[in-house]
């Protein structure tokens, strides 16, 4: 019972600290100073830096999706419909979620390690002693950049995924290009695109804020940095999948 109380207390404290960080980020968005140069650097680090992994993940996901769904559709004599399946799956679900998971592994862990190292070597305290608020300087630029870049990366992932699916459809499944692309466009409605665009904004925000939160709280030298990095990936990945489910349910109610 005592351990359960301790665990609950710890969990509540964690949530309180996370919410407090979100509050500070919110305040720093509407009050000076802004660190614009850091924001631009983060756009580059998160966006351009994650491009390769997102391109590879998107392409291979679209390709394997076309292969697998082609086999299943064959059983119903509906191989020509593969374009519908690939585009709907990529835009509504796989694009946002897989991009978010890749960014969690690459960016979330990187942020946690960077901020964690700064925390355990007193660099965060040094920043404060030099008159800089670490949340304004380190967290807010990352959160804004992450929230804006994950949707851009998702759109790119969707596009290369559908393209990859098209290549497999024509080369392996012998589905004509015109039929594949007709199916791709015919199956996509504005509601699907909205769903595919709203999700990554929320997931991007979540990944970066979790990375920053665990990084800032790192204690205990290099071991603490390691723990923070692991936590950022584990908590970020679980949060991406859980929030994706909740968001999907919510958006189905709101959009369809």
């Amino acid at each position: 019972m005592n351990r359960l109380t301790q665990w609950l207390k710890h969990a509540l404290l964690e949530i309180q600290d996370y919410m407090s960080l979100l509050g500070q980020v919110g305040r720093s968005l509407v009050t000076r100073p802004f660190y614009f140069r850091d924001f631009v650097e983060q756009l580059d680090a998160i966006g351009i830096g994650s491009l390769t992994v997102v391109l590879l993940t998107g392409t291979f996901t679209g390709m394997v999706l076309a292969l697998q769904s082609g086999m299943t559709l064959d059983q119903f004599g509906a191989r020509s419909m593969v374009g519908r399946l690939v585009s709907a799956s990529m835009v509504k679900e796989l694009g946002p979620v897989l991009t978010a998971l890749m960014v969690t592994g690459r960016v979330g862990s990187g942020i946690a390690a960077e901020l964690g190292s700064m925390a355990v070597t007193d660099q965060l305290a040094a920043l404060r002693s030099l008159g800089t608020d670490p949340v304004r300087k380190l967290v807010t630029p990352r959160v804004v950049a992450g929230t804006l870049m994950v949707p851009v990366l998702t759109v790119i992932s969707d596009a290369v995924g559908i393209l990859g699916g098209g290549i497999i459809s024509s080369t392996q499944l012998q589905v004509a290009n015109s039929i594949y692309w007709n199916n791709v466009t015919a199956s996509l409605f504005m509601d699907d695109i909205w769903m595919g665009l709203i999700k990554p904004f929320v997931l991007g925000f979540l990944i970066v804020t979790i990375g920053c939160h665990v990084g800032l709280r790192a204690r205990g030298g290099t071991q603490g940095v390691g723990r923070a990095t692991t936590q950022a990936v584990v908590a970020g990945s679980v949060a991406v999948l859980a929030v994706d489910f909740v968001l999907t349910k919510l958006l189905i109610v709101l959009l369809y």
Binding site: R32, P33, F34, Y35, F36, R37, S117, T121, D122, Q123, A125, A126, L127, R128, S129, L130, G131, T132, D133, K137
Partner: protein, 286 residues
């Protein structure tokens, strides 16, 4: 760059404190982490131009004292004043103004490892003021020259030795012309020769520049060296300084504070500390 018009605050040396002004005051300050009591109703004052050397065993709360002064930690009870402003209940935004007059040299330096020495030293001026870059560069060069590292501006912290990193940390703390300097274990981990150069920088700042300071250390050799030596300016250059045994008049500038079990076990001069018959102090000094 953050938009703030505080360049003038850092471009000219601030007016010195009036003699005898209380710069830092702890008034019955208490702090505990969970069950562990760190400070128990601790009170002391640091006056303008004075230096306090805080001694104590590991975990006695020495570094905590400095973090409380900077507002990096909040006490559970009591009041802390810096330049007559109460800082223990200040908001983070208000603390930024108070910190403009405080320079902190962290244990191990805490240099920003992704920035060059020049960017580290000029950090506050580059990021928190709208001071023109050539002016910032001139100030950085001046300060690096002061600590004997004028040629090292383009280097990364990882390319420096332990002593050089510590001197860069002192330079960074000095860039904004603070009237109070806080040193957290400035010589720990350094060889005796390098530690001596750091000691001399600290003495020079106290005697030549009149900076009020607090040093937290458990390096007794360095603590007594700083307390028993003085610097006298002999010329216009930054290196034209002579070090020698402290005069009786200047000896009063430096006081020791010994922390033990969350309270102040001793407060007084180097001579009084040496003459103490308290068994704990004798054991600590032996």
């Amino acid at each position: 760059m953050a938009t703030e018009t505080a360049a003038s605050r850092f471009s000219e040396p601030p007016a010195p404190f009036a003699t005898g002004t209380v710069v830092i005051r702890f008034d019955e300050v208490s702090l505990a982490f969970d069950e562990k009591v760190i400070l128990k109703k601790v009170s002391f004052e640091l006056r303008a131009g004075q230096m306090k050397i805080v001694l104590g065993a590991s975990g006695a709360g020495k570094s905590t004292v400095l973090k409380l002064i900077l507002g990096l930690l909040r006490p559970d009870g009591g009041q802390i004043f810096v330049n007559d402003k109460r800082v223990d209940d200040m908001t983070e935004d208000d603390l930024m103004d108070v910190r403009a007059d405080l320079g902190m040299v962290f244990q191990e330096g805490a240099l920003f490892d992704s920035l060059t020495v020049r960017e580290n030293v000029g950090y506050r001026l580059f990021e928190e003021t709208d001071m023109p870059i050539p002016e910032v560069d001139a100030r950085v060069q001046e300060i690096l020259g002061y600590v004997g590292l004028a040629e090292y501006g383009a280097r990364m912290p990882s390319e420096l030795s332990g002593g050089q990193r510590r001197r860069v940390a002192i330079a960074r703390a000095l860039t904004s012309r603070p009237r109070v300097l806080l040193y957290d274990e400035p010589t720990t981990g350094l060889d005796p020769i390098t530690a001596l150069t750091i000691d001399e920088e600290i003495i020079k700042l106290r005697d030549v520049d009149g900076v009020s300071s607090m040093i937290v250390t458990h390096q007794l050799r360095d603590a007594f060296f700083i307390a028993t030596h003085e610097a006298v300016k002999k010329g216009a250059g930054p290196d034209d300084v002579e070090f020698g045994p402290v005069s009786p008049k200047n000896a009063e500038k430096t006081e020791f504070v010994m922390l033990r079990d969350g309270t102040i076990a001793f407060e007084g001069s180097a001579a009084e500390l040496r003459a103490s018959t308290d068994p704990y102090l004798k054991a600590f000094l032996s």
